[in-house]
């Protein structure tokens, strides 16, 4: 009995990470009907950025090749835009955010590096700082990805965006594997930045104690918090209203005065920030980072999102939790279960889709974001 209880706790703690990633997935899908395959890789970038900050490894200046790539990219984009449209002046304005972001990046990086050098190895300040930098970096990355890769394809068949998403995902995964960037070797993440990380909280003592990890409590609390915040934004704010309008039909929403570019970017940035939070928490829980670390959690989170009814925030959280539970129970109770843990997720997905194609909480709920 106690063992089962402990397994359930393990499952919830694993599932809450899936839930956190799934929420970002589902939000983007809800608005754009685009499965953002790069989401798992934004999650990875979040973990790696915080690895640099918490480990005092952030370089003061960005490497030269980074500047070359960005400037070359900007020049190419500008040329293409000027050649492809007649009113060049207007379209060049679309590049302004990128130029500004690039200019801001240099001092921001320097500042973050200076601060990270002075941070102690273990303190809430370090943990908070590395989380903050990861969120900002991933937000900027999400914005860049959306504006440069998805926006130009918005009025094309959906399959184009889907393939582009896979392309962006591969770019981040294999770009990160380049030794000049991060390299394919997994590195130990400085999880000790969170004070008291090793301490478990004992729920039941005695001969068979049941323990819950501090990180797990934080992860679960943050997941539920973000779920609440997101639902508030979507259901109660004006931006949320616009978001729902865009998700319903974006050309009509534009006619009603909604700035759809801004709303879609907002969705992406929000989703990427959530991915960053999930990435940092995942790395704290499993202190080992590498460029492919987002692949499997990304796929699992996608399953969780579909499972819960893609586009539905509460569904994504429920899906994530159930997926985590199933995985841990399969490992713990099925003979030879560890081989089937990944398969189990997909078997459950198939069953759910057969019985209820819209997912666990799909369709019945009025809002669709």
């Amino acid at each position: 009995m106690q063992e089962l209880l402990q397994q359930i706790i393990n499952g919830i703690s694993l599932g809450s990470i899936y839930a956190l990633i799934a929420v970002g997935y589902t939000m983007v899908y809800g608005v754009l009907q685009l499965i953002n395959f790069a989401h798992g890789d934004v999650f990875m970038v979040g973990a790696i950025v915080s690895f640099y900050v918490a480990g005092h490894r952030l370089p003061r200046t960005l490497p030269w090749w980074f500047h070359v790539i960005v400037i070359a990219g900007l020049l190419v984009a500008a040329t293409v835009k000027l050649l492809s449209t007649r009113s060049g002046k207007l379209t060049l304005r679309a590049m302004l955010p990128f130029v500004l972001m690039y200019i801001a990046l240099v001092p921001a990086n320097w500042l973050a590096s200076e601060i990270s050098q002075r941070l102690p190895d273990t303190s809430w300040l370090t943990a908070g700082m590395s989380l903050l930098v990861a969120i900002v970096a991933c937000g900027a990355l999400g914005f860049t990805i959306e504006r440069s890769a998805y926006k130009p394809l918005r009025n094309r068949p959906r399959i184009n965006s889907l393939i582009t998403a896979i392309g962006v995902s591969l770019l981040l995964e294999y770009g990160g594997q380049n030794p000049a960037v991060f390299g394919p070797t997994p590195r130990a993440y400085p999880a000790e930045m969170v004070p008291g990380i090793d301490r478990g909280i004992q729920l039941i003592g005695g001969a068979h104690p049941i323990a819950i990890n501090r990180v797990d409590v934080v992860v679960l609390a943050l997941t539920l918090l973000f779920m609440g915040v997101l639902m508030f934004i979507v259901l109660k704010t004006k931006t949320g209203l616009a978001l729902r309008a865009v998700s319903y039909r974006f050309d009509t929403a534009a006619l009603m005065g909604v700035n759809i570019d801004r709303i879609i970017s907002f969705t992406f940035v929000l989703g990427s920030c959530l991915a960053a939070v999930a990435g940092v928490l995942y790395a704290v829980k499993y202190p080992n980072v590498e460029p492919l670390m987002g692949l499997l959690p990304g796929i699992k989170a996608f399953v969780a999102a579909v499972f819960g009814g893609i586009g539905n925030i509460a569904g994504a959280v429920a899906g994530g939790l159930i997926l985590g539970l199933v995985e841990v129970l399969v490992v713990g109770y099925l003979p030879g279960g560890s081989q089937y843990r990944d398969a189990a997720a997909f078997v459950i997905l198939i069953v759910i889709l057969l019985v209820k194609p819209s997912g666990l909480l799909g369709k019945n709920v009025v809002e669709k974001v």
């Binding site: 323990a211 202190p287 080992n288 995985e327 713990g332 560890s338």
Partner: protein, 383 residues
């Protein structure tokens, strides 16, 4: 159409240049070229780096003494990213492009098993410094190794746990997708069962993808073992250790030579105190050969203390050089025969004799982790 022709032209020109550049390493070549397949990047990157550093140290010493057969020796290292298929590609590249006369590598058994048929087919001798799974050399006439094999290692792990630590109830947590892990698990289990011990929980994990072990560990905790065998690699052990302690598992974790890497403690930290693993050597050993090697290695690599993969690779390079010297030629067939005849070679990790199964018989060292440091516990001689 024109661009298509241009592409064809460029490609064919490229392949011509490629053909022209690749020199041979036959007896007329200006240097002796040996290939090294190593995991310089990926999950077990330390293995590849340590191996390469050990080999380069030996290489420097050989060249300082005038090389081999009156020629300079060169080692070409190919990275396999810790992936079996890549290891195969790397070996093929070394054989067909660089025309190496012999291959050193790999450390991980799965990857050595992948390379072995390639070397057999090309009739190029291969010497693995540290792969311990028996299948590496079985039925492979051109494949040799410079270390003990897992039946012996498994026995030593189990014997140490049962005789020295006086334990009887064990749990097993092993990588289901690794030849090394599956093999070693079997040998440990056999010994434990034959000698009145018990495996009370037997669970697997998937190497490279699993990061959460809470399901397995909770199950193990419920079975209440006195120790847990983890015949896996350091990357996973570094994650398993902290997770086990957080769940309140305090019993020692015991493993094999796959644990030996600086990253083990970087990730596992204090959670691994009081744990044990078997290894090829310990830098604390007082033997003069070991100490001379440790000193030379530290001098070359800025004070870095060599791990086991460095010393077995250092020895492997020297054994290979000795074989080439005795063969008197870079003819692969003759090198293979000379390797098979290697007897009582004075390596840093001990006297090396290649037996009829192409394995070396060497003593095993038990390492204890104390205060986040690897310390020498005991040594078990081959029986």
């Amino acid at each position: 159409m024109r661009s298509l022709w241009a592409a064809v032209l460029v490609l064919s020109a490229g392949s011509l240049v490629g053909c022209y550049k690749s020199g041979g390493s036959g007896d007329n070549a200006s240097e002796v070229v040996i290939g090294h397949v190593a995991s310089l990047t990926g999950d077990t990157a330390t293995f590849g780096h340590s191996a390469d550093e050990g080999i380069r140290l030996a290489l420097d010493e050989i060249n300082a003494k005038g090389g081999l057969l009156g020629k300079k020796v060169n080692v070409i290292t190919e990275d396999d990213r810790s992936v079996s298929d890549e290891a195969k590609t790397a070996a093929n590249k070394l054989i067909t492009r660089d025309h190496v006369c012999a291959i050193l590598g790999e450390i991980a058994s799965s990857r050595s098993i992948a390379i072995a048929p390639v070397c057999d087919d090309a009739k190029v001798p291969m010497l693995s410094p540290g792969s311990t799974n028996p299948k590496v050399t079985q039925d492979h006439p051109y494949v040799f190794r410079n270390c003990f094999i897992d039946p012996f290692q498994g026995e030593c792990i189990a014997r140490f746990a049962m005789e020295v630590l006086k334990l009887k109830r064990f749990a097993m947590l092993y990588p289901v997708n690794s030849d090394y892990g599956v093999g070693l698990r079997g040998y440990i289990e056999t010994y434990v069962k034959q000698h009145g011990g018990q495996i009370v929980a037997d669970l697997g994990y998937t190497e490279k993808t699993d990061k959460d072990f809470s399901g397995q560990l909770t199950k193990i905790k419920g079975a209440d073992p006195e120790a847990i065998f983890i015949p896996g690699y350091y990357t996973e052990v570094g994650l398993i250790g902290p997770q086990a302690r957080k769940l309140g598992i305090t019993v020692p974790l015991i493993g094999g030579d796959g644990w030996d890497a600086a990253e083990l403690l970087e990730a596992g930290k204090s959670s691994l105190n009081g744990c044990f693993f078997t290894n090829h050597y310990s830098p604390d050993e007082k033997r003069p050969e070991v100490q001379a090697f440790v000193e030379a290695y530290k001098r070359k690599y800025n004070g870095k203390i060599p791990d086991a993969m460095a010393i077995v690779s250092y020895d492997a390079m020297n054994i290979m050089a000795d074989a080439i010297k005795r063969a008197g030629t870079t003819n692969s067939q003759k090198i293979k025969d000379a390797l098979a005849a290697a007897k009582d070679f004075p390596g840093a990790s001990g006297l090396t004799t290649i037996d009829k199964d192409h394995n070396a018989r060497k003593a095993i060292v038990v390492i204890e982790i104390k205060d986040e440091k690897l310390t020498y516990r005991t040594k078990i001689e081959p029986t």
